[in-house]
Subunit: 352 residues, 2 copies
C-alpha cells in the first residue's frame, strides 16, 4: 500500500515559523515547496499564506485541476498577472510584513513586486520551508526507501550489463529506460564513466566501449512518486591497478569515518570533516573538491548540505548522501555514495 502523506501539520509548522520571524504572511514561489505544502504541483503558481488564509494562485492553464485537487485552499484565478492578483490580496488582507523566498524569486520579479506592493512590506527569507523539508516524516521515509529499492534494482541490472565493449552512453540510456518502465524517472542524467573519464565528478557518458582491466563509476538515482534516491558504486572489470585499490580503500574508510559520526546533535560540518581530514591525511585532500553530501527528498539536492561550511546540527529524520571521493586527473576517480537516515541514536544506511 502506498504511504499516505499527512499534509495537515505542514502549514501550522510554517505559521509557527512566521510568528517567530515577525511575519504576518509568506509567499511561496518555489515549485517543490508549493507541492510540499499542498500536494499539488506548483508550476507557474504561487501560494500566499497568512495567519488565517491560504491562497493558491494560478492561471487558466491549471485552474480546473487546482480546483479539483487543492483542498482547503482558497483558489484564485490570475487574470492579468500573478503579481497583480497577489497585490490585490495583500491589500485586501492589510498585510504588513510578507516573507518571500529570496533564493527562488528572480531579482527582477522581487523588485517589480516591491514596487507594486510596497518595498518595505517584503522580507527576504532563506531556507524557511527547505529547513522544514529537511526532516522527513515516516511516510516520506517510506517513499524514499521505495525510490532507493528501484534504484538498487536498476543498478543491479546495469552492473550485470556492464561488460567490456559496451558503451557508457548505452548503459546510461538503458538506465533511463528502466526507470521509466518502472513508473519512475531518472533523477539526473545517469553517470556511467569508465577509467579516466571518471576523474570528472559529473562526467558525461561517452560513446566508446568500456575497457577491460579497468573500473567504472555508476552514479544513478530516480524520482518515484515525487521522492528521489541517489547512489554511486564503483564496478571493476578484470584486474585493476594497485593505485585504484589504494584510493578505493581510502574513500571507503573516509565514508565509514563520516557515517560513524552521524547522530542527532552533531554539527553537520563535523561529518564532512571526518571524511575530509582522513583523505587529507592520506595526501589526497586536493583531489576531493566537493561537499561530502546533500539532502535528498522531493528534490535530488536539498537541505541539509553536508559541507565544511554547514553551520547546522543533525536532527532525527534527516536523510542525506555521504559521498566522499578522490578524483585523479587522467587516471580516474573513486566516489562511494550512500544515503543515510538520522535515527534517534545514530543513523541507518538506507542504501546498504
Amino acid at each position: 500500500m502506498m504511504p499516505v502523506i499527512d499534509y495537515s501539520g505542514r502549514i501550522p509548522s510554517l505559521r509557527k515559523g512566521l510568528v517567530k520571524r515577525g511575519l504576518d504572511a509568506f509567499l511561496v514561489t518555489n515549485e517543490t515547496n508549493i507541492s510540499y505544502l499542498c500536494g499539488f504541483p506548483g508550476k507557474d503558481s504561487v501560494l500566499l499564506l497568512t495567519a488565517k488564509e491560504k491562497y493558491f494562485i494560478t492561471d487558466s492553464r491549471f485552474i480546473e485541476e487546482a480546483q479539483e485537487n487543492v483542498k482547503d485552499f482558497n483558489i484564485k484565478l490570475v487574470r492579468a498577472s500573478t503579481y497583480e492578483t497577489l497585490c490585490a490580496l495583500i491589500k485586501k488582507s492589510a498585510l504588513k510584513k510578507i516573507g518571500f523566498e529570496a533564493m527562488n524569486l528572480p531579482y527582477e520579479v522581487a523588485c517589480r513586486l516591491g514596487k507594486l506592493a510596497g518595498r518595505q512590506k517584503l522580507q527576504p527569507t532563506k531556507d524557511f520551508i527547505e529547513d522544514l523539508r529537511s526532516v522527513k516524516d515516516p511516510a516520506e521515509g517510506e517513499l524514499i526507501r521505495r525510490s532507493i529499492r528501484l534504484t538498487k534494482k536498476v543498478l543491479a541490472i546495469t552492473i550485470e550489463r556492464a561488460k567490456p565493449g559496451v558503451a557508457e552512453n548505452v548503459l546510461s540510456r538503458d538506465i533511463e529506460l528502466l526507470f521509466i518502465k518502472n513508473g519512475a524517472r531518472a533523477a539526473f542524467e545517469p553517470i556511467v564513466a569508465s577509467g579516466a573519464n571518471s576523474s570528472k565528478p559529473h562526467a558525461r557518458p561517452g560513446n566508446t566501449g568500456i575497457a577491460n582491466n579497468s573500473f567504472l563509476m555508476i552514479d544513478i538515482g530516480c524520482s518515484l512518486n515525487s521522492y528521489n534516491s541517489d547512489l554511486t558504486r564503483m564496478v571493476t572489470l578484470g584486474r585493476v591497478s594497485d593505485r585504484f585499490k589504494k584510493i578505493y580503500d581510502i574513500v571507503r574508510k573516509a565514508q565509514r569515518l563520516a557515517i560513524e559520526k552521524i547522530k542527532p546533535g552533531v554539527r553537520i560540518s563535523d561529518v564532512d570533516s571526518a571524511a575530509r581530514r582522513y583523505i587529507q591525511s592520506r595526501g589526497f585532500g586536493k583531489y576531493f573538491g566537493h561537499a561530502l553530501g546533500h539532502g535528498v527528498g522531493m528534490d535530488i539536492h536539498e537541505r541539509p548540505n553536508i559541507s565544511k561550511c554547514s553551520n547546522g546540527f543533525l536532527r532525527p529524520g534527516m536523510i542525506f548522501t555521504v559521498e566522499p571521493a578522490i578524483y585523479l586527473p587522467k587516471f580516474g576517480g573513486v566516489r562511494i555514495e550512500d544515503m543515510v537516515l538520522v535515527t534517534n541514536s545514530g543513523c541507518e544506511i538506507l542504501t546498504a
Copy 2:
C-alpha cells in the same frame, strides 16, 4: 551530417549590445544562455564577458571537462565561492558597469553580489541574450527540423497505438521511451488527454483507458541535440459529437488566420489577435486563456512570446508555436499546435 553551430559571431553580437547599453561587462548565469555562447553546459557555472576578455567560471566538479571543451575562454576555478571569484575578476579588470540577468539571478544572490562588488556597478537587464537567441541561424533551424522529424515519427506511432481502452499514461510513458530510444528526451511530460480531461490545458495523463466515440489531445515534443520541438494534435476515436467538430473547426480557422498574418515586420501581438478575435467572434473567447504561442529552440519555451502583450515585431529566422485552443470545462478541449519559421516573405510551417 550533423549541422555545425558557428559560435564565432555570438560573443561579438553580445558585445555590440553591451556598448549600446553603456555596459562594460556582462554576467551570464542562465544555463541555456551559457551553453548558447560557449557550447558547453552551464550548470553551476557563470560567464563574465568584458570588452576584451571571456571568463568561464566553474568549480572542481566541472573544471576538467571545461578545460577540455570550452575553447577560447579563460577558465577560472572557483575556490571558496563563485561570487568571490567573480568579484576578484571585477576588481582586477576595473569594471564599472556590469549587466546581469535579472530574470535569472535570485534576489538573494543579486544582493549578495551587490554587497561584494558594489551595488552601483550592477545593472539589471532582461531578455538580452534571449532576444539574440530568438532569431535562429540556419544550423539551428536544421537542428530544430530534426527534432520535429523525430517528434512527428513518435506522434505517428502513438496515434497508431491510441485505441479505446489504452490508458493515457501508458501512451504518455511510451512516448518518453521512444524519445530516449531515439537519442532524445521528452521536452516535457507528454500530454495525452482524452475527452473531458483535455479541458485542462496541461492535463496530467490518467490511468483509465481512453473511450471510444471520443477525442484525444496529444501534445508532445522532444529535445534532440539540445534543440526542442513541440506539437499538438487532436485524434478522434469512433464518432465524435457535433460540438467537438464545431470547436475543432473554429480552432483550425483561428490558427490559419494567425499563420496568414506571419511575416517580418508584423507586430507580434497582431498575430495573437488574429486568432483570438476570431475565437471571440464565435463566442468562445473566455475559453482561450493562454497566449497564442511561444518561441522554441534550446528551451522549450523561449522568446518570442506570442501574446496580446508582446510589443516586439517578427523577424526572419524566428521559430515559434501557433497554438490556439478552446477549453470547455467538463466537455474537453481542442488545441492545434504547429511550429512556424518566419521567412523573408512570410512563414514556413515546419510541422506540416
